[in-house]
């Protein structure tokens, strides 16, 4: 009896102490907590970004740089000795580079919050979130000479600029492809239906991208195969359309062997034969080809994709190295090297002089009409991106919840 009371007493005391500490201590993590007006504006998509100073001139390089990048965007020779555009940068600027890879845009947004990274290669579904959260700074494009050579249709777009102010420099764009093992999968697929309606043929060996943004891929498929659902933009889904996409993905879940966010895990799964068909990036195909008979196609329904932007962290301690990196990675040499390695269209128009024969044509570099057809990753928001005003669209948070539900 006495023990129990002392136990309870000690617990209460300890708890009270800890709680008061906690209530005083925990911060709202970084930026101004949104007040209701700003919150409403944010949810509208027409938000007011936090006021973060923009660099006006460059100084000496600081000697270090922390890069947060999509795998394949900052190669330093460790994956393949001949693929390296980081070491030349280090030698030229004296900024020692430390690279961290992430697998999904969500990870990128989370990691940038920690304030430990100087630059980040953000896709369209991360850029606005980063800007709104105050984790990235506006970029003074006058300080980046190579910016002038980039194609105009990539500048001042909704995903990389707010109120006419650029928040980064374009990197390149590309599409998500359908990869399959040519020994196992036949006949050769031509449509995304191979992983949706036809997934049962390869049950247990289908793989999909492990991120809520993949819902857009299902929506895209529905857009073409079930037009009466009325989906115009795979990122503008009202509740009914989202439900349809979720049902499609739940049906797919029965046949999925693994979801991948680590690109190396997908390569390995294809190599061991545990996955035989699924979404992929060109760089994965290139790496997997060495050991496995795989092929990738852009299916007839079109595809989702990405248009990436290099952004600078708001709290960076190395602004000069950051600007130097942005200038380096958008230079014709580096941009061409990345584009060839990753398998995407470069952003710098001069890069096409340096890529291999026919590369830029096959990736439709500079082809504005083609570029408009890829459904780039964008953050879904309440205000329908397709312009509808009679319904509210589902937000990314709802997509995230739906994604957990889909995976079961």
């Amino acid at each position: 009896m006495r023990n129990r009371r002392t136990f309870a007493g000690a617990a209460a005391l300890g708890f009270a102490l800890a709680v008061s500490l906690a209530a005083c201590g925990t911060d709202s993590g970084g930026d101004s907590g949104a007040d209701s007006e700003e919150q409403a504006a944010e949810e509208q998509g027409g938000f007011t970004p936090p006021d973060i100073p923009m660099a006006s001139e460059l100084g000496d390089n600081e000697g270090a740089l922390s890069v947060l990048a999509w795998p394949g965007y900052a190669e330093d020779g460790s994956t393949d000795k001949s693929v390296d555009w980081v070491t030349p940068f280090e030698e030229e600027t004296g900024c020692q580079v430390d690279v961290k890879y992430f697998g999904t845009s969500d990870e990128a947004v989370t990691l940038m919050k920690s304030g430990q990274y100087d630059v980040v290669s953000a896709s369209g579904d991360a850029t606005l979130r980063l800007i709104a959260a105050g984790d990235v700074a506006p970029v003074n494009t006058d300080l980046i000479p190579n910016y002038a050579d980039e194609w105009d249709f990539l500048k001042d777009r909704p995903w990389n600029s707010v109120n006419g102010q650029m928040y980064g420099v374009p990197h390149g764009y590309g599409a998500n492809l359908l990869m399959y093992n040519t020994d196992v999968v036949s006949p050769e697929p031509t449509s995304w239906g191979a992983v949706f309606d036809g997934a049962a043929d390869y049950s247990g060996k289908v793989t999909s991208y492990d991120s809520p943004i993949y819902i857009a891929d299902a929506a895209l498929y529905l857009m073409k195969t079930q037009p009466d659902l009325g989906i115009e933009d795979p990122y503008a889904l009202d509740a009914d359309q989202l439900a349809a996409a979720v049902d499609l993905l739940k049906a797919q879940r029965e046949h999925v062997g693994e979801y991948w966010s680590d690109y190396l895990k997908e390569i390995q799964a294809f190599q061991t034969g545990d996955s035989v068909i699924g979404t992929t990036w060109q760089v994965i195909v290139n790496l997997a080809e060495a050991d496995t008979p795989v092929k990738a196609i852009l299916p007839e329904e079109g595809a989702t994709g990405w248009s990436d932007t290099w952004m600078i962290g708001a709290d960076t301690e190395h602004p000069n190295c950051s600007y130097a990196w942005l200038n380096h990675i958008t230079s014709p040499e580096a941009n061409a090297a990345v584009a060839e390695w990753f398998g995407e269209a470069p952003a710098n128009s001069k890069a096409c002089d340096l890529t291999s024969e026919g590369f830029c044509d096959s990736y439709h570099a500079g082809d504005e009409a083609y570029a408009e057809q890829i459904h780039y990753w964008t953050t879904p928001i309440e205000q329908c991106l397709d312009g509808r005003t009679d319904v509210t669209c589902t937000t990314y948070q709802e997509w995230t919840q739906a994604w957990t539900e889909i995976k079961g």
Binding site: T26, T79, K265, D291
Partner: protein, 269 residues
């Protein structure tokens, strides 16, 4: 009951099978470190020592091992001091809330690592506002290392009783002298065994480490985690693992000798 010969044989066979279960994956790891196929095709198409050579030259692996050793040593030292103090306090003195404290001390090991990791990471970054780095890493490791030292010390103290210490005090020795001359020698081997286990726990820790390690620091498990799937590095990972297994036999054997057979188990845990 005395165990019949049949029972004995059954038990021996069961133990043999269990050991087979335990060592087959490890044997696979060692085998794959010689596999010519980078993706560990089975059966191995050929054997090669190139991965062992690559591992020998791998700067990343060596740096990671060194970082892990440093973190583990510091965490173990912290655990040693604090764990011993806690054990002494709890065993020798009765005070308000004693039961609670002993329950709270084992919480870091009893609660799932992911909770500890998330809580500590949040605490460091938002509550205290320090960057994640070596310090946060060592602190988070220390929280569960303390438990192993504590458990061993408590187990030994319980067995020994307080007679010798009381006799020493009766003879006029002060608290510190008693501790230094009587308690410590008695505790020494169990503390050492506890330290060895704390070192092992910290060295191999990945679940909490993922959350509390800063950018740029690579302990060995972090290095392995990042290189597990890389085609060029995965075989090197296997080599590193094989080396670890072989290299660990010595400290374990040492722990055995120190703890004495009848306490081998308590110590080992």
């Amino acid at each position: 009951m005395t165990l019949s010969p049949l029972m004995r044989r059954v038990l021996a066979v069961s133990t043999g099978l269990a050991l087979l279960f335990v060592y087959t994956p490890l044997a696979l790891v060692v085998l794959n470190s010689f596999n010519t196929s980078r993706t560990f095709a089975w059966p191995p198409p050929g054997y090669t020592t190139e991965w062992w050579q690559a591992a020998w030259h791998s700067q990343g692996a060596r740096d990671a091992v060194w970082v892990s050793v440093q973190v583990a040593i510091v965490a173990t030292l912290v655990a040693l001091v604090l764990g011993t103090m806690a054990a002494l306090a709890l065993q020798r003195f009765r005070f308000f809330g004693r039961d609670t404290v002993s329950l709270l001390i084992i919480l870091p090991i009893a609660l799932p690592g992911v909770v500890t990791g998330v809580a500590l990471a949040n605490f460091f970054t938002t509550m205290i506002g320090i960057q994640l780095g070596m310090f946060t890493l060592i602190v988070s490791h220390a929280t569960f290392c303390i438990v192993t030292v504590f458990n061993n010390a408590v187990a030994r103290l319980r067995r020994l009783g307080s007679n010798l210490e009381e006799a020493s005090m009766d003879l006029g020795a002060g608290t510190f002298r008693t501790f230094y001359k009587i308690t410590l020698p008695m505790l020494r081997s169990s503390l050492l065994a506890g330290c060895l286990l704390a070192f092992a726990l910290s060295f191999d820790e990945i679940i909490v480490t993922t959350f509390t390690v800063g950018q740029g620091i690579q302990t060995l498990p972090i290095w392995i985690y990042q290189n597990l799937f890389r085609p060029n590095q995965a075989p090197v990972v296997n080599v590193v693992a094989a080396v670890l297994i072989l290299a660990s036999i010595v400290p374990i054997w040492l722990a055995q000798k120190l703890a004495g057979t009848d306490e081998s188990v308590a110590a080992a845990r």
